[in-house]
Amino acid sequence: MLRKGIALAAFGLTVLAAPVALANAGAAPVRETEFSFDGPLGTFDQAQLQRGYKIYREVCSSCHSMNLLSFRNLGEKGGPFYDPKIKNPNDNPFVKSIAKDYQINDIDSETGDVVQRPGTPADRFPNPWANEAAARASNGGALPPDLSVIAKARHHGAHYIYSLLTGFREPPAGLKISPNQHYNPWFPGDLTSAWSGDPAHVPAGGLIAMAAPLAPDKVTFDDGTASTVENQAKDVAAFLAWASEPTATARKQFGLAAMIYLLIFSGLLYASYRRIWRNVAH
């Protein structure tokens, strides 16, 4: 009971910081970093989204699906390859060539045979696995989660993804880890049962089936940005934040206008209220 109590006290800070945010209990507090889209008026940085997409394409997409996104989304307003000169994202040459690189399963309408054809902007990103069982079989029983809404599906969103991707560490001595698992202080979990060291100092974090996916120079950035793990993690986190909510920028811009309108409207109503009530004692 005491041991459990102390372990719980260890992440008391996390619990205090977010009254209802319990899912990350046991994980280290997310790393401090700044994104261009933080804050009420922050917007996505298109160059960062393009770098992030490249990392998704070359690293993540071999295991992680992105079922809810179509190639055309990349060329829509606010997207990584948006071009204001091109009205229809399906006509965007970048989007068309990205889509063409993928082979999409289809049915030949003449013969009914299962065929593969190059993708078009209207196609969804294909799933790297034929089905869930295939995905699990190739990943030591673990299922790589779909990344369509991953930034919204985790507390602290892009900040969590950044912390996790840069967070792979050598496990502390005393932590029992099976070959298919990897220690990460930012992955939610409870390591009490795997810990043979001082019970007062159970390490934060959990065991994740994914090995550290990023490495220095694993991806070559076309714009000359240094390809460090930090930069890669930040860029792909930004891309996934965009993928999770492509309309976030439109939302914030609409919100600014709505706020200005509501403030002026409230001011006018207050002035009317004072004027109408001026002769009534109340």
Partner: protein
């Protein structure tokens, strides 16, 4: 809706209509000419705010239903498709999701206001009970609405809440199966929840009509709790309260917009963006914030059935409140002792809400585990919930009945105008209600 009418039909059409269907007269008597106490403060604007909330939920909800697919395989993706592919779908959906929270913010303030100013006392018992019915319908609607996106919290929340009915003796199991439409929460459950989620708001709208009718028969209560004595005490609803409510609604919409546009997911749970998976239970199943006080009461009781009964009892108590409070004085302005206990009651509700979001065995004060009593760790959220639950019920079942008999209230004013005229911020004596057109 009742009593004397000052409506005089002006045009020929209005005269023709008035002897056939006096609907213009009804509107005039209810929202233009309706005599309203002139001392209503901003706590009284939440009725109007709630009407706006209901309107927003109905309009956004009807549009969402045009795009939503109530099927376990498509529900999650259809909600995301609304966010991505429907024009302004993100706005409609975020307004609807945050609108539910805003609706509950407003309804809780509205209820606490009624509790503080004794708005449930004669002759407004029916008004209060209809309000409780609306609240109950709101909770059912909100719960079923939260299930529709079919995320992890949707699914497992639905499992937890529907399983509560299984605690009832004899009929429990059969009742739960009947509610589910099967032997587990599945597609039939989602389908019926969607159907009922669409139906209940219209029932709410109907009961709101009755609620307003029951308000307009005795008229508004007011912060003094003293009955309206003369025309001096009132002002016509329009323009005096249309403009005051309008201002309050606009300020409320600023709060609403802050969430919708700049923090749309702050009041939800991240796990609900993970598609429902019956085989993976989230680490912590937490209901939406507005259910947390009741969730804390449920978990405060070790026995499942008793917990369920106590949780429903917490709401049932509200229905009989008019007959539990024995005090003849309506407003707690003139009940200093009751006022103190009321403040503690508000605190107890907030504490219950906080406890509902915590793990029951967690320590309230981290690192301190000395409050051991026999086998009970008093420094835990489950014990804090128990204390707050005890106070919640004591307030209604012991404090309010006893206080009314024992306390000595402060002297009440003769009329609404009396304290108004002696108010330091008030206008010079003799100033009367003048139409806004002058000056």
């Amino acid at each position: 809706m009742s009593g004397h009418s000052n409506y005089e039909p002006k045009s020929g059409f209005e005269k023709w209509l008035d002897v056939r269907l006096p609907i213009v007269r009804l509107a005039y008597d209810s929202i233009v000419d309706f005599p309203t106490p002139k001392n209503l403060n901003y706590w009284y604007t939440f009725g109007g705010i709630l009407a706006v909330c209901l309107g927003i939920q109905l309009v956004t909800g009807i549009v969402l239903a045009m795009h939503y697919v109530p099927h376990v395989d498509y529900a999650f993706a259809s909600v995301e498709s609304i966010m991505r592919d429907v024009n302004y779908g993100w706005l409609i959906r975020y307004m609807h999701a945050n609108g539910a929270s805003m609706f509950f913010v407003a309804v809780y303030i509205h209820m606490f206001r009624g509790l503080y100013y004794g708005s449930y006392k004669a002759p407004r018992e029916v008004l209060w009970i209809l309000g409780c019915v609306i609240y109950l319908l709101m909770m059912a609607t909100a719960f079923m609405g939260y299930v529709l996106p079919w995320g992890q919290m949707s699914f497992h929340g639905a499992v937890v809440i529907t399983n509560l009915f299984g605690a009832l003796p004899v009929v429990g199991q059969a009742l739960t199966t009947w509610l589910w439409g099967g032997f587990a929460v599945d597609n039939p459950t989602l389908n019926r929840f969607f159907s009922l989620h669409y139906l209940l708001p219209f029932m709410i709208a109907g009961v709101v009509g009755l609620h307003i009718w029951a308000l307009h028969v005795p008229g508004n209560n007011n912060p003094t709790g003293v009955n309206v004595k003369s025309k001096e005490d009132t002002v016509p609803f329009h323009p005096y309260y249309t403009v005051k409510d309008g201002f309050a609604i606009s300020v409320f919409l600023i709060l609403f917009a802050t969430f919708v546009f700049f923090n749309p997911n702050a009041l939800g749970h991240a796990d609900n963006y993970i598609p429902a998976n019956p085989l993976v239970t989230p680490a912590h199943i937490v209901p939406e914030w507005y259910f947390l006080p009741f969730y804390a009461i449920l978990r405060a009781v070790p026995d499942k059935l008793m917990g369920v009964l106590l949780m429903f009892g917490a709401i049932a108590t509200l229905f009989v409140l008019p007959w539990l409070d024995t005090s003849k004085v309506r407003s707690m302005r003139y009940r200093p002792t009751a006022k103190l206990y009321f403040m503690i009651f508000v605190l107890a509700c907030l504490v219950l809400g906080y406890c509902g979001g915590q793990l029951p065995d967690n320590h309230v004060i981290p690192g301190l585990s000395t409050f051991k009593l026999i086998d009970a760790d008093l420094n835990s959220f489950v014990w804090l919930s128990r204390i707050a639950t005890l106070y919640y019920f004591s307030y209604f079942l012991i404090l309010l009945p006893v206080l009314g008999l024992t306390e000595t209230p402060l002297p009440q004013p003769e009329s609404i105008s009396e304290p108004v005229l002696s108010h330091p911020a008030s206008m010079p004596a003799g100033a009367t209600a003048a139409p806004e057109k002058k000056g």
